[in-house]
């Protein structure tokens, strides 16, 4: 504010006005898209609304002199994470349901609105005082944001950076193990491995086979085909009565 009274006085109102204009546009677009993510019925449309939220959030980051974060937001979030979501939605072939909301949805919504109103009231009386650091917008624009972030990241935050690397490795291994374990398990089952976990498989597979014509995606079919001979051979034979008694024992 004190800087604006100098020779840049003629430029500042227009500059500020354009910045405010972009801020209001990004705010309106982000909030509307966020509401659409929560309220749309079709999961694919929810994913596209989430894409709009992420892209406009990158616009916020550009307004805040954080270009590198904006790039990472577009590349990692909109380019990788969201595509992963859309892949899974289309792989699972999800239909839009008729009842998308929780049966008692007004109660959580009431508490959310209560907490939001309280936080807004707190926000409007908060002074926002803090100790200012050394790296302001002029330093960032003079040296480049990626340069500044890189210097900071590989000097002060090197340990956290490596921990994040190990975390991502663990997440990748965990995701692969989770997604692969079932199919490798099924591949080993027709040999002789069926009996140890027969109750789980038999209890689970009728619903699986029953829903099979409805919405099973093509990558799903090999495991189901591998599963269904043992299941189909087992069901008319002797393994149906133990499952039935187990089911009747469990229901009371």
């Amino acid at each position: 504010m004190a800087r604006g009274h100098g020779r840049v006085e003629a430029h500042l109102p227009l500059n500020l006005m354009i910045t405010n204009l972009f801020f209001y546009y990004f705010a309106a677009a982000t909030i509307v898209s966020g509401l659409l993510v929560v309220s749309l019925r079709n999961p694919v449309q929810c994913g596209l609304a989430l894409l709009s939220v992420l892209a406009h959030m990158a616009g916020f980051f550009v307004l805040l002199n954080a270009e590198f974060i904006a790039m990472i937001q577009v590349i990692v979030y909109a380019g990788a994470i969201l595509i992963l979501y859309l892949f899974v939605i289309m792989l699972l072939n999800l239909k839009s349901e008729e009842r998308v909301l929780h049966p008692r949805w007004p109660l959580p919504l009431f508490f959310v609105l209560l907490a939001g109103g309280e936080l807004v009231a707190l926000l409007l009386v908060s002074p926002f005082a803090g100790r200012l650091g050394l790296i302001d917008a002029s330093v960032i624009t003079s040296v480049g944001h990626s340069h500044a972030v890189g210097l900071k990241l590989f000097s002060d935050y090197l340990m956290q950076f490596e921990i994040i690397g190990v975390f991502l490795l663990g997440a990748v291994i965990g995701a692969i193990v989770l997604a692969k374990s079932s199919s490798s398990n099924v591949g080993g089952q027709p040999g002789g491995n069926l009996s140890p976990h027969a109750p789980g498989v038999i209890a689970r597979s009728p619903s699986n086979v029953g829903e099979q014509p409805g919405g099973s995606p093509p990558p799903h079919t090999p495991s189901v085909i591998a599963l269904s001979p043992s299941n189909g051979g087992g069901l008319p034979g002797g393994s149906q009565p133990p499952h039935a008694t187990g089911a009747t024992q469990r229901t009371p």
Partner: protein, 99 residues
């Protein structure tokens, strides 16, 4: 624009995501609402980082993005495993571990 505007937008987004987690029944939509909350936290961090002239908030925002990537990968793998077992992404029907 002042810091209060950014914090209010971030607050509205966070509350939207929280409402989505609480009232939606589809597992994938719940994960998307969590992404919405993480994004609201990112906006808050970057806004404070800009107005306090410090890069620490942007470092944390980078780490939050990385953690969101890991969370999405593991969460979607869990969804695929659950969907293989019984064809449902509805959180009311996935209650095997519910006390």
């Amino acid at each position: 624009m002042s810091l209060t505007g950014y914090v209010i937008v971030s607050l509205i987004l966070f509350m939207t995501g929280l409402a989505g987690v609480l009232i939606r029944r589809n597992f994938i939509i719940i994960l998307m609402s969590i992404e919405l909350m993480l994004n609201a936290a990112n906006l808050n961090l970057v806004a404070f980082s800009h107005y306090l002239h410090d890069l620490a908030g942007q470092m944390t925002a980078l780490f939050v993005i990385a953690i969101a990537a890991g969370e999405a990968a593991v969460g979607l793998a869990i969804i695929i495993v659950v969907f293989r077992g019984k064809v449902a992404t509805n959180v009311d029907q996935i209650n095997l571990m519910k006390w």
